[in-house]
C-alpha cells in the first residue's frame, strides 16, 4: 500500500533528524556552524581528560605484549577454553542422543517378535494328556471356554511384506487343550515355485513333520502356483514358519488357534464311562448263574469293548489335533514375486530397514530433546537472569547516592 502524506506533513521525527545530523556532524560529513559546534564540543570534552602517563602506557603495552608472547601451550589453552563450551555441549548432546538411540534399538529388538513360539503349541505334550500348561492363565477365558460348547478360533493375520512372519499366538489358559494352524503365502518367481515347494517340504521333514497334501502347478508362460498342507508338531510350529519365511518373501501369513478342550474332555469321559461299564459287566458276568444271563452279558461286553476302542480312537484323534499343527503353504509364482525375489527384495528390505532406522533415530532425537530442552531452557533462563542482575547492579552505580 502506498501512503501519500498530506502537503506540509512531510515531517520526519525531529529527534531522529537531530540524531542523524549529530552523527553526520561528528563524522565530518556535514558542514556549517551547527556541525562545527558539535565537533568543537566533542574536542573540548575529549580535551578535558588528562592523557595517559607514558609510564603507564609503556607498562600496559609490555603487559599485553607479554600476554601475547606466552608459550603457545597457553595460547592453545585459551583457544581450547573458548571452544570447550560449545564442544562439550555438543559432545554431551551427542552422547545423550546416542545413548537414547542404543536404548531404543535394544528395546525394540527385545520387543520385536522373532517368530515367537506360540505358547500353547510349544508346550503341548505329545502323549495322550495334551493339556496345555502355559503359565499365562486367564481364568475368565478358561471358564468361558469350558462352558461354551463351540470352539473359539482365534486368528491372527499379518502381512509380512517380505519379512519373516510375525506370528503371535494368543495366550493360552491353564488346563486348555488347543489346536494350532497357520497359513503362509510366499512370493516366488514362476521358475522358482518348484524349488520353493521342495524347500517347504524339506523344512517340514526336517522338523519332524510331513507333507499331508501338495499340489504344484508350473507353467511355462503364465502364473505358477503350489499349495502344500503340512503337518508339524505344534511345538515346532514357530520354527517351521520361520524356516519357511527364509525360503521366499512372505506375502501373507495368518495363524489360528482353536480350543478343543471340550471335545478332548468329552472323549475322555466317554472312554472312562465305557471302561466303567465294562468293569461292571465283568463283575456281573462273574456273578451270573444262568446261561441266558451269561450270553447277554458277553454280548454287552463285546459292545463295550467296541465302544472302548472307538473312544480310545476318539481320544487319540483329539490328542493328535492338539499335538499337530497344520500349515497351509501357498507359493505364488508371478512377476512381483520375481522382482521381490531378486534385487527388488534387497532394495525393499533396505528401504524398509532405512525407514525403520530413521524412525528410531527420530524417536531418539525427540526423547533426547524432551529431556534436554527443559534443561537448556532452565540454564538459559538462569544465564539471562544472572546477566540481567549484573547489568542492573552495574547501572545502579550510576544512580545518585
Amino acid at each position: 500500500m502506498r501512503v501519500i502524506s498530506f502537503p506540509g506533513g512531510d515531517s520526519a521525527d525531529p529527534q531522529s533528524t537531530w540524531v542523524l545530523e549529530l552523527e553526520a556532524a561528528l563524522n565530518g560529513e556535514s558542514e556549517g556552524p551547527a556541525a562545527e559546534s558539535w565537533r568543537e564540543l566533542r574536542e573540548d570534552v575529549r580535551a578535558l581528560a588528562p592523557p595517559m602517563t607514558p609510564a603507564f602506557e609503556q607498562r600496559l603495552a609490555e603487559r599485553l605484549a607479554e600476554r601475547d608472547a606466552r608459550p603457545s601451550r597457553h595460547r592453545r589453552l585459551d583457544r581450547a577454553r573458548a571452544l570447550v563450551r560449545p564442544r562439550a555441549l555438543a559432545a554431551m548432546a551427542s552422547v545423550v542422543v546416542a545413548g537414547a538411540l542404543v536404548a531404543l534399538v535394544v528395546g525394540l529388538g527385545e520387543q520385536r517378535p522373532q517368530h515367537p513360539v506360540p505358547q500353547l503349541a510349544s508346550q503341548a505334550p505329545s502323549g495322550a494328556e495334551r493339556v496345555n500348561a502355559a503359565p499365562q492363565a486367564h481364568a475368565s477365558a478358561g471358564a468361558a471356554g469350558q462352558t461354551s460348547s463351540a470352539a473359539t478360533p482365534t486368528e491372527v493375520k499379518a502381512n509380512a511384506q517380505g519379512l519373516a512372519p510375525a506370528v503371535s499366538a494368543p495366550a493360552g489358559a491353564t488346563g486348555r487343550v488347543q489346536q494350532l494352524a497357520a497359513s503362509v503365502g510366499l512370493s516366488a518367481s514362476p521358475g522358482n515355485v518348484q524349488n520353493v515347494s521342495d524347500g517347504v517340504a524339506r523344512v517340514a521333514a526336517g522338523d519332524e513333520g510331513y507333507v499331508q497334501q501338495s499340489h504344484v502347478q508350473v507353467q511355462q508362460h503364465g502364473p505358477s502356483e503350489a499349495n502344500l498342507t503340512l503337518k508339524v508338531p505344534s511345538a515346532r510350529l514357530a520354527a517351521v514358519l520361520a524356516a519357511i519365511a527364509r525360503l521366499a518373501p512372505v506375502s501373507s501369513e495368518s495363524q489360528s488357534l482353536q480350543d478343543i478342550t471340550n471335545a478332548y474332555e468329552a472323549a475322555h469321559q466317554r472312554l472312562a464311562d465305557a471302561r466303567a461299564e465294562r468293569r461292571a459287566l465283568l463283575r456281573a458276568l462273574a456273578a451270573a448263574t444262568t446261561e441266558g444271563q451269561i450270553d447277554s452279558l458277553r454280548e454287552r461286553l463285546t459292545q463295550a469293548r467296541n465302544a472302548i476302542t472307538q473312544d480310545q480312537a476318539a481320544v487319540q484323534s483329539v490328542s493328535q489335533r492338539a499335538s499337530t499343527a497344520e500349515i497351509e503353504v501357498t507359493v505364488l509364482g508371478n512377476a512381483a514375486g520375481k522382482a521381490a525375489a531378486s534385487e527388488g527384495l534387497t532394495l525393499h528390505r533396505g528401504l524398509h530397514d532405512a525407514l525403520r532406522v530413521l524412525t528410531v533415530a527420530l524417536i531418539a532425537i525427540l526423547i533426547a530433546a524432551a529431556a534436554l530442552v527443559p534443561v537448556a531452557l532452565v540454564i538459559a533462563a538462569l544465564a539471562i537472569a544472572r546477566r540481567t542482575w549484573r547489568r542492573y547492579q552495574r547501572e545502579r552505580a550510576l544512580d545518585p547516592a
Binding site: Q15, S16, W18, V19, L22, E23, L26, L41, R42, E43, D44, V45, R46, A47, L48, A49, P50, P51, M52, T53, F56, E57, L60, A61, R63, L64, R67, D68, D78, R79, A82, L83, R391, Q393, R394, E395, R396, A397, L398, D399, P400, A401
Partner: protein
C-alpha cells in the same frame, strides 16, 4: 590534548566488510591498543575521576578483550565498540565496588598554560565545558563521555548500554541538549 583518531583500516571491520569475519588476531589487538588505549583511559578517568582507578580500568579492559577475543562477534559491532563495552562494565564495577562519586579532573596542563588570547579563550571554553559536564547527572555524563571518547555510533552505544537504539538516541539528545544549555548558562553568567 587528545587527537581525534578515525577508525583505522588496520582494524577488523564489521561483517559488512568481506575482509574479516573471524576473531581478533594478535596484530589486530595491537592496532586496537595503539588506537584506543588513550580514549579508553580518557573515558575512564573522566568517569571515575582518579588516575589510578582509570589505569586499572584501562588495563582490565584490555586484559578482558585479549581474553575474550576468540569470542568476538563482529556482527554485533566493531572491536572498538566491543572494547568500550568492556571498559564501561569495568568502570561501573569499579564505581559500584568503591561507591565513589565520580569527579572530573581538569587536565593538569590546562591551568598552567597561559599564552595568547586565542589559547586563553580555549581554556575558558574548556573550563565552561568541564563545569557544565560536572553539573550533568552522572548517567547523562557517562553517556556523553561514552559517545565522545568512544566515538560509537548510536547502535553501538545502545548495545553497550543494553537499551534500544531509539532509546539511546533519546537519552543522547537529552544529555547533549542539557550540556549545551548548561554551557550557555555558564557563558551568560560569566558575561554578566
Amino acid at each position: 590534548m587528545h587527537r581525534f583518531v578515525p577508525a583505522s583500516d588496520e582494524l577488523p571491520q564489521p561483517p559488512d566488510s568481506p575482509r574479516l569475519r573471524g576473531p581478533l588476531d594478535a596484530r589486530s589487538c595491537e592496532v586496537l591498543f595503539r588506537e584506543c588505549a588513550a580514549d579508553v583511559h580518557a573515558y575512564a578517568i573522566s568517569l571515575l575521576g582518579e588516575r589510578s582507578a582509570a589505569e586499572d580500568v584501562t588495563a582490565l579492559a584490555f586484559e578482558r578483550l585479549y581474553r575474550s577475543r576468540a569470542r568476538l562477534d563482529l556482527s554485533r559491532g566493531t572491536p572498538r565498540a566491543w572494547l568500550f563495552s568492556i571498559a564501561r562494565n569495568a568502570a561501573l564495577d569499579e564505581l559500584r565496588s568503591r561507591r565513589r562519586r565520580p569527579l572530573l579532573e581538569l587536565d593538569e596542563g590546562l591551568a598552567g598554560e597561559s599564552s595568547a588570547g586565542e589559547e586563553l579563550e580555549r581554556l575558558a571554553r574548556l573550563a565552561t565545558v568541564r563545569d557544565a559536564l560536572a553539573a550533568l547527572p552522572i548517567r547523562e555524563r557517562e553517556l556523553v563521555l561514552l559517545k565522545f571518547h568512544g566515538q560509537l555510533t548510536n547502535g553501538e552505544l545502545a548495545r553497550a548500554l543494553g537499551i534500544s537504539e531509539s532509546n539511546a538516541g533519546t537519552r543522547l539528545h537529552r544529555a547533549l541538549t542539557r550540556l549545551r544549555e548548561r554551557c550557555a548558562d555558564l557563558d551568560r553568567q560569566e558575561v554578566a
